[in-house]
Symmetry: C2
Subunit: 420 residues, 2 copies
């Protein structure tokens, strides 16, 4: 039985399509027999060197007096000050961003940050205007579909598709379509992108930031996979900062997803609004993870481990999967793999796919392999577009052997589906 819910309650009770798929996968694995190859997870692996680092800093925290202060006292809404100081020092030293404490906010994970921002900057205003949250390039992170409190606020734009090589492609923002004016509350995109591994070029980012700056619109750049941590970037990219940029980070892919540590860096006027939202809706973020992160950033360990452990681990997986697809997918089918520029997923586009992505997911599942159909990764894109039903997301968290076996199964099913 449904309880009596507000309009907001009804919106927020709906979960994104990916969660339905994940539920199906868990139930299938629990009910079915045999061995499964699971290429669906968004949950990063625990890498031994990374866990060792967080264990070391926990031991250090335990050895000192600070432990009691960290867990046993309320903190400020802005965040744990040693972490804020570590971030200020790091970005000023390495990127010369010239930031101060007032430019940093710690949130309980970056999803919460997007939730605050989407509803502080987007939605109905006191002047009667309803401002949009714009995703300049669809597909993008499925979770963005959950952060606005009403259905109409999120608007995503179709990209252009650049065939970069045989069976390779890259999405590009379509600056002819993309429209940013003062009716836009904020712009939001992930870089590197979940689910595609796309990294918008520095010029593309500057194009978006400049267009938004003209109308005083903040741009949230979701850098959950970006340099400097976790540095899941396999191409060249510079973190872009500016007066209307809110640079958003997460420690989830640097080994602390369970601790929910998100970071916003931006102009003090934005940070202050987001901080107030946090005060009212949850007081402050939990502090244990923040205390570990402060130490690991200050010592340089987080930077080092990201560069020498986390990045090569997933880069190698991306290479293995790309090679496997080259071997296993039929050359005479118009399949295209997105350029593997970062993050922990591969994104396969099957042009003119004769069935839907959901049906393809089911066919692949029959062979005991799980992938994720692409359709849920187009939140906010209301128009019909065949491409939305022609893609699959494949996780790089599986072993190399599993990636190769999975690619073989996908190749076999694709051959059948296209009648080759």
């Amino acid at each position: 039985m449904q309880p009596r819910l507000s309009r907001i309650g009804q919106k927020m009770s709906r979960l994104t399509g990916v969660r339905a798929i994940m539920k199906d996968i868990i139930e299938t694995m629990q009910s079915g027999s045999g061995k499964w190859i699971n290429l669906s997870p968004g949950n990063p692996l625990i890498l031994p060197e990374v866990e060792a680092m967080w264990r070391e800093y926990t031991a250090k925290l335990m050895a000192g007096k600070e432990f009691g202060e960290v867990v046993g006292r309320y903190g400020t809404s802005q965040g744990y000050m040693p972490l804020i100081d570590a971030i200020v020092t790091f970005f000023n030293k390495n990127y010369a961003w010239g930031i101060a404490r007032e430019n940093v906010l710690i949130t309980p994970g970056s999803q919460a940050l997007y939730f605050y921002a989407a509803n502080c900057f987007g939605g109905p205003g006191a002047d009667g205007t309803s401002r949009k949250i714009v995703l300049p390039l669809s597909p993008d992170y499925t979770g963005y579909g959950g952060v606005t409190l009403d259905d109409d606020t999120l608007v995503a734009y179709k990209p252009t598709i650049d065939i970069t090589a045989p069976h390779r492609f890259k999405y590009r923002p379509d600056f002819d379509r993309l429209h940013i004016d003062s009716n836009v509350g904020a712009v939001l995109f992930s870089r590197p992108a979940n689910p595609t591994g796309n990294v918008l070029t520095d010029d593309e980012v500057r194009g978006i930031v400049n267009a938004a700056a003209k109308h005083d619109v903040p741009v949230l750049i979701d850098s959950a996979y970006a340099a400097p941590f976790p540095n899941l970037v396999f191409t060249k990219m510079t973190p872009i900062y500016g007066p209307n940029v809110i640079h958003c980070m997460s420690l989830s892919k640097a080994g602390l997803p369970g601790e929910r540590v998100g970071v916003a860096i931006g102009d003090a006027k934005y940070i202050e609004a987001l901080e107030c939202f946090q005060t009212n809706s949850g007081i402050h973020s939990s502090r244990f993870g923040q205390a570990l992160a402060a130490q690991a950033i200050d010592s340089g360990d987080l930077l080092r481990v990201s560069e020498s452990v986390i990045k090569p681990f997933y880069q190698r997986k991306a290479k293995v999967l790309t090679d496997a697809f080259e071997r296993e997918l039929p050359a005479d089918v118009p399949w295209h793999l997105h350029e593997a520029e970062g993050a922990i997923f591969a994104w396969l586009w099957l042009k003119d796919l004769p069935i839907t992505d959901k049906e393809l997911y089911q066919r692949i599942k029959k062979h005991h392999v799980f992938v994720v159909p692409g359709e849920p990764f187009f939140p906010g894109l209301k128009e019909e577009w065949p491409h939305k039903h022609e893609c699959l997301r494949i996780s790089l968290t599986a072993t190399e052997e599993e990636l190769e076996k999975g690619a073989a199964v996908i190749g076999q099913v694709v051959r059948e589906v296209y009648g080759k």
Copy 2:
């Protein structure tokens, strides 16, 4: 400069009056010289036995393999399953509530829980009705003023005042005024209450719960100070549960405020709606504090430490302050101390106070003593009522000596103000 904010952004950017006071206190202490007696904090003290317990469970977590799973993996939105199981077992064994996993949700602190509930159940509905969040007895926790996304949703009711003894009083819900029908989205109150130390009687709670049940309205009972943990209860009370009750707990007063662990226990239909809100707005709560709590509940240590350390510590402070007020406050002034039934504050009502509570705060501050004026603790009570400007909140977190010195200063200022 203010950024362009949505209506929600504007509401959520306002902070409760208590935060302005707290800011004034911090700035005054930083700028002023001399020694201050601070009777304002809501931040509980770190009690050595309590810290030792959490250190012990951190060491146990570190000794096992689970550490990596706890911090290094995303969890389910519902919460860390060993904690959910510990809560189910505990409440079924000790209170025979007959709950299952589906009845429990872990949130990042209880403020977040009230935020989800206020906006899931209150505010504009799809049917055009805007449903209220009702505080049945004002004053209550100031933070409730921050949880609704618009200004009109929160409605509080004036209580009746029961003079229980010379210079003693107790608030009671005024069942002649209190109106609950299907236009109410949810009812919310703290028990024991912050700021008053009031504990609604079992009969009063049943009266509210039954009135709400007739219209299928959920009742959130904020048990942040209640039995079984932290058990800051100095009178008799039974935790009340039922089909329309959402029992809300926090580990903040049991020594983990920094870790933000809130718990909701209620009917599965409510828990599911709140869990979805959490998924969309923040994925899940951080897991380190949850993992410690799971162990400490299972072992019985949390129950034991609450009963034998936390409760007597603050109960003793309440007695010291009550005795000091008896000595220091003039018998011929109509001062009334709220019955000290629980929580970590004393609440002083100065009937017919010739100046406002804010002015009294300033006068006391001149003597290097900080208290908190009472007015911010009446969120949602729109009507004028002189009583709103006649109260002070005094924290029991100070030392016994400070409480006695503070009471002497308050006594002296009160004598001057009333011209005695």
